[in-house]
Symmetry: C2
Subunit: 425 residues, 2 copies
């Protein structure tokens, strides 16, 4: 097919009419497919069943003899802290084990900052008038929803393949004390799949915030979620911070939601000892500790950080063909048409598609009418508003290969139709 | 032994000297006992091991076919909601399943009320200037710690064997819009063991708060924790509220921390549908759902509310001898001395001891010096201050019978010494 931009009006009309017939045919198939969320599929979940099948009598005592079935151990059991410290490249005293949701840890971190303040801050965030967060875009909708719920103004920062525009980040963070945080998914970013470069991580570590209570929310959700031919390398931000003495500026989040079970994994918080001590004092009023049996269950199953990495290879083997399938369909149907670009991530859960401006909502609508539910257009932007209305997040993991193929074929068809509608004016 | 109040100064002196010798002898035994917290003992925890030993392949799908290992089901799986609705005497739509800690649910409920407001409230609590909570005393130290952390002023309300002084509660709640809540442990109250009477529950339901966003925090932690000869009956507060149309005023909390595992049970929230809908909307930003495998694990093990009640009989059989032991020691050593009173609860986790004013701190100190750690004097009061310095919480469950006997003997000795010190001036 020719580049759409070079078609005459007449060619466009005729092409649109052909595509419409294809679309009606697809619609008649009565699809009922959901591509909206980055969920692991059943086979991935099955990978961790042996963890649940462990003898419960082996899951009672920690190595120092604490009965995990009883109250206590606010920060988590030592062996769990050690395992994830090792994986994240920090020390045991930098870790707090959370419940089963890292989203919940992030939400709570912000709620506590608002109500009680953070380490080194003179006042709680909530007592300082209007607040702002920087949001690299496209980004993770659930991050933005937290800011929106708490009335924190969001400022979009363009994200490229090396990370956020650090000139702009520096400018905001170093000039405006109302800027309290920035959302980052530094490896295989949701949804672009980009990994922050060493220079970007260094630029984060070098920030000298105007606020005494600014925090980088480093959501390292996809740290071990490689599945490409190559593997992206992310510099350890705490190592980078050492050079500048800026360790207190970082809150890191991690979870096993896409390692073991999305509904029943472990969430992990990592930060400087100053932050950890300060937060544990606040947390001690909130809970007596999270589920320690589940902590021991994970530790005894994986044993080491390498155990987790080996397990992730099995996930990769299940995920890889799905990404290949999506990319093959996009390549075949859309290459050379001049109506869009898409990312080719080495890991993570998404492919990010940028169409012509003004096409995303229409494409999602067309897909929905034909029975394929995509992530809402604009979801990857603050307030759900994509200023150019061009970005769509594709989530390949949950669907079967067959469903995926059907969905992406339809997606390509709808992209072409939406593009033609824009080009025809 | 004679009533202490009738002793001459000389008799007191001589008795004190005898007791001091006994105390020194006890001290020489080098005890190292901890009676400070209401924790289940190992035998109680063992009661639920079969729950953990269930075949994990039976714990994958809910009855409507949802895979509990994946994301979703914000409010919890239907069968868990149904089980606890049945136990608490409400409907499934009145239930939200939490993580593993009801304390965490309470803390979060207050944090959300402060930052975002509650159903029917015009503004978030946090935007309304100084706030107040009513605190029946003696009460639960962890409740009070939440108010203290958030800077909510606490007002003590005397608690008797029928519940809080409802005249006083009504006066505060109906006149002062700054009063946003009251902490209640309505059955086998921590630490007194008192259960609110039907009249008390009715008086709660009949409240007409001055604030449009007042909530009763109904921490029904010991609903099924009977272990006495008799069983206290608590009126269902939601039933009571129906008469007055005041269901929206109540937040009920429950957990299986002292049914299955203190570190890995289930927490439950119950409220009107208005409250549940409103809170789920707030919660949807915080998490995608709590641990559903653990929910199914509990449901498949207990099956019905009666299953839970039958299980609690086994707990009662383990707990009962400990309470009998404590009461027998107190009766034998302190009856008729006129230096203290203690409760005889039919359930729950504590015995509450009121000594002579000015003796509690001293008694706790004497016990600690002889190797027996008690709950800090004053812990059952806001800000940790018992205005009469007379109340001590005794937690019989965690220690062995032998340890308990040693501890209570020492406690009685220290009570006598502390009383004599006060009486001798």
């Amino acid at each position: 097919m020719k580049n759409f931009q070079s078609l005459t009006k007449g060619e466009m009309k005729s092409l649109y009419s052909t595509l419409t017939k294809e679309y009606e045919a697809a619609k008649a198939k009565g699809y009922h497919l959901d591509m909206s969320r980055g969920k692991p599929d059943t086979l991935q979940l099955n990978l961790s069943m042996d963890m649940l099948a462990q003898n419960p009598y082996d899951l009672i005592f920690t190595r120092k003899g604490t009965d995990v079935r009883n109250y206590g151990e606010l920060a988590g059991v030592d062996e769990a802290k050690e395992l994830f410290a090792d994986l994240l490249g920090v020390k045991m005293n930098n870790i707090i084990m959370g419940g089963q949701s890292s989203l919940c840890l992030m939400y709570d971190a912000i709620a506590k900052a608002l109500l009680l303040g953070v380490y080194g801050g003179a006042k709680p965030w909530g007592q300082q008038g209007p607040l702002k967060f920087l949001c690299p875009v496209p980004g993770y909708d659930r991050h933005f929803a937290i800011c929106e719920q708490f009335g924190i103004e969001m400022i979009s920062i363009p994200l490229s393949s090396t990370g956020p525009d650090m000139e702009l980040v520096k400018q905001y963070v170093e000039s405006d004390p109302a800027v309290k945080g920035i959302w980052c998914v530094p490896k295989y970013s949701n949804p672009s799949g980009y990994t922050y470069s060493a220079e970007t991580v260094d630029a984060f570590a070098a920030l000298k915030p105007a606020a005494d209570d600014f925090r980088i929310f480093w959501d390292n959700a996809y740290l071990v979620h490689d599945h490409g031919e190559k593997k992206d390398e992310l510099v350890n931000i705490f190592d980078a911070c050492k050079k500048y003495g800026s360790e207190d500026m970082v809150y890191e989040f991690f979870s096993t939601s896409k390692i073991t079970f999305s509904g029943a994994g472990l969430a992990v918080f990592a930060a400087s000892e100053n932050n950890v001590k300060f937060l544990l004092k606040q947390m001690g009023v909130q809970t007596i500790g999270y589920d320690k049996i589940n902590q021991l269950r994970h530790v005894k199953y994986f044993k080491t950080a390498d155990g987790i990495r080996a397990h992730m290879k099995k996930h990769a083997d299940l995920i890889r063909p799905k990404f290949h399938g999506v990319l093959a369909d996009l390549d075949r149907d859309l290459t050379g048409l001049g109506i869009g670009e898409w990312t080719r991530p080495n890991g993570g859960y998404f492919v990010s598609y940028d169409g012509l401006p003004g096409t995303a909502k229409r494409c999602v609508e067309l897909c929905a009418e034909a029975g394929v539910k995509l992530t809402a257009a604009g979801a990857a932007f603050p307030y759900g508003i994509d200023p150019e209305d061009k970005n769509i997040r594709i989530a390949p993991t949950y669907a079967t290969m067959e469903q995926l193929h059907q969905s992406i074929e339809l997606f390509c068809l709808c992209q072409k139709m939406a593009a033609l509608e824009v080009l025809m004016g």
